[in-house]
Symmetry: C2
Subunit: 333 residues, 2 copies
C-alpha cells in the first residue's frame, strides 16, 4: 500500500512563488507573485540570494493567507544546497518548528505529503518551502557559471526560484484539496551522467504513477492533467515510453513542469527547467490558481528528484531517481 | 503549542546500532549490535562505508523485529553528507518509500517525531535511519583526516556509526512508548566557529527543554534522565547554565550522548562525540534497552543539531542550532 488517503482532509490554503530574471521572462513570468530582475536578490552571494527566495515566498504565502508565524505549527523546508543551507538561513527569523527535508527536485511534493500527514496527526497548519538557484546549484554540483562551461544537450536549467505552501485542515478559501498521496521509492536505472537527470528520474516517475494507478484503479484519463516535476524533454519522452510499455499508452494529458516554465525559444535551457523551485513554482503560479478558479477539477502532481551529490558522481556512483505524487482536487468540485 | 501528544500512541518496536572501531572501544562498545574494527566497513571509500552503516543498521533492526521490507510503510533517513548521500546509497536496495530528512546531528529525533506523526496518520510501521562517519564528515566540513589537522579544544569527534529504529502502533514487545514530541525551533546565538558546535547547539537545547517544561508543567525531576544529543563538555556546561538562568537550576539527571559514547581517556575526542550517529547509537544501544527492561521508566531524549555547510562557514555565516525532543516511557510502567 503506497497510496495514502488522509482521513482528515488536508487543504492547500495558500501559496506564493518567487522567480529570478529568466523565470520572469519565461512562459509563467506574469503569474509569479514576486520576480527580481537581479538574480542576486539584493544579496552578496548566490547562497544568500537563494535564502532570500525562501524568506520572500514564505512571507508572501503567509500574507496572502492572512496568517502569522504563531499560527503555523511546523515548517517543512528543503533545497538543493548542502545541508539544506538555503532553507536554514532563509527561514532563520521564523520562530516556527522546522523539519529539514531532502528529496532533490521532488522536495515540494515530499513536503506536501509530510504536511498532509501532519494535518492528519493534529497539526492545524503547516508550511512547505522549497527553493533552488541556478548559480548556487551549478557551482555546487557542476561548475561555477562564471566559468562558462559548455552544457550538454540533455542538461537542464536549474530554476532560480521557489515557492511556499500553507497546508491546513480548513476548507474555507482553500486553493485545493489533497485527496491522496503516494510517496516515492528510489529507482536506479544505472545513469551516471549528472547532466542527464531526465533519464535518471523518468523510471522513478513511471514507477510512482504505475503504483498509483494500479492501487487506485484510476487511470490517466480520469484527470485533467498529470504533471511531472522536471523530467524535461528527454525525461518526458522516456517517461511516456515507460508508461506505454506498462499499459498506459494514452497520456496525452501529461505535462512536465520543466517544459512549462521557460520560453521555449531560449536556447540556454536545453532540455528544460529543473531544481526544487521548478515544480514548486509551476504548482504555485499555474496549477493551484487554476484549481481554485475551477478551470481544473483534478490533477496528479508528481515531483521528481535526482539523488546525487558532487562526490557520489565523482566516485562513479549512479544517479537514482525518486518521485513523490500528490492528488489535488478543486474544492468546488 | 510546540508539544504534540499523539492520539494514536507510537511505539519504538525495535532498533539496531552500528559502530566503527573507536566506538567499539568506547564506553558503550559492548552494547552495539554491530561493530567493525575496519572503519571502511569493507568498502572502498568513506562515503560507501557510511552507506554501509545505514544498510547494516536497518537490516539488523528489521531482523530483530522479525519484519520484512513489505511491512514498512515508509523510511525516514538522513545523515551529514551532502544531499543525504549516505542514506540514499545505503538504502537504495530497499523498495520502501523514502523521505529524506535533515536536522544535522538532531536527525534521529527529527525522524522519530515524523515517524510518530506518520503512525498517527495511519501508517502502521515506519523506519528511521541515521548515520555519520568521522572521515566522510571531516573531509566534507573541515579537512580530510589524512591531513592530520590539529583539532581545537572545543571540537568534537564525529561518530562513525548509526542506528535504525522501527516505529509502529503496536504495544506488544515494544521497546518504549513515544508519549510526546516537541520539534525544534532554530536558535542563532552568533557562533561562527565550526569547531565549537556545543556552543552553537546549547541555546537550542535550552529553548526546546524550556518550551517543553513550560507547556507541560513537567520538570526535569519528573524524569529518570534528560538526555541531550551531542552537546559535548563545552555545550553541556552552557546548556546547564542556560537552564539555571531560566529557572531550572537542578538538572543533575542531565546526561549528554556525546559524553557517554567514548572512552573519556581518549584524548582524540576533545569535547565529546557528535554526528547524527552519536545520539542515535546511544539511544539504540543504551537508553531503549534500559527502558525495555524497566531499568528506566521515562526519559526525555533531545537530539541537537548544528546547521551549517562548508560554504556558509566560509562565507562567515553563523551556525544556528536546533533541538528536537522526544518523551520516551517504558511500556511496563
Amino acid at each position: 500500500m503506497r497510496v495514502l488517503r488522509p482521513t482528515v482532509t488536508p487543504y492547500i490554503m495558500g501559496c506564493a512563488s518567487v522567480g529570478g530574471n529568466k523565470e520572469r521572462k519565461g512562459q509563467l513570468g506574469d503569474l509569479f507573485d514576486i520576480t527580481y530582475t537581479d538574480d542576486r536578490f539584493g544579496k552578496d552571494t548566490w547562497e544568500e540570494a537563494e535564502s532570500e527566495i525562501q524568506r520572500l515566498s514564505l512571507t508572501k504565502a503567509m500574507e496572502k493567507c492572512n496568517i502569522s508565524e504563531k499560527d503555523i505549527g511546523c515548517m517543512f523546508a528543503g533545497d538543493l544546497l548542502n545541508q539544506c543551507g538555503a532553507s536554514v538561513f532563509g527561514l532563520l527569523d521564523y520562530k516556527i518548528p522546522l523539519f529539514g527535508i531532502f528529496g532533490a527536485c521532488s522536495t515540494a511534493a515530499e513536503g506536501l505529503i509530510l504536511a498532509s500527514l501532519s494535518v492528519n496527526a493534529g497539526i492545524d497548519l503547516c508550511s512547505v518551502s522549497v527553493s533552488s538557484h541556478n548559480c548556487s546549484a551549478e557551482r555546487q554540483f557542476r561548475y561555477p557559471v562564471e566559468y562558462g562551461a559548455l552544457r550538454t544537450p540533455t542538461s537542464q536549467w536549474t530554476v532560480t526560484g521557489g515557492a511556499s505552501f500553507i497546508v491546513g485542515c480548513r476548507k474555507e478559501n482553500a486553493l485545493a484539496e489533497i485527496k491522496a498521496v503516494c510517496p516515492g521509492i528510489m529507482c536506479d536505472s544505472g545513469i551516471t551522467d549528472a547532466n542527464n537527470m531526465g533519464a535518471a528520474m523518468a523510471p522513478a516517475a513511471a514507477d510512482t504513477f504505475i503504483a498509483y494507478f494500479n492501487e487506485t484503479g484510476e487511470s490517466p484519463e480520469d484527470f485533467d492533467y498529470i504533471f511531472t516535476g522536471d523530467l524535461g524533454a528527454e525525461g518526458s519522452d522516456l517517461f511516456r515510453l515507460l508508461m506505454a510499455e506498462n499499459g498506459y499508452p494514452n497520456i496525452a494529458n501529461h505535462r512536465d513542469c520543466g517544459l512549462l516554465i521557460y520560453d521555449p525559444r531560449d536556447e540556454d535551457i536545453k532540455c528544460g527547467g529543473s531544481g526544487c523551485g521548478c515544480s514548486a513554482a509551476v504548482l504555485s503560479s499555474l496549477i493551484l490558481p487554476d484549481l481554485k478558479r475551477g478551470r481544473l477539477k483534478n490533477v496528479l502532481f508528481a515531483a521528481t528528484g535526482a539523488l546525487m551529490n558532487a562526490a557520489t558522481v565523482q566516485q562513479g556512483n549512479t544517479v537514482p531517481g525518486i518521485c513523490h505524487l500528490v492528488k489535488l482536487c478543486s474544492t468546488g468540485g
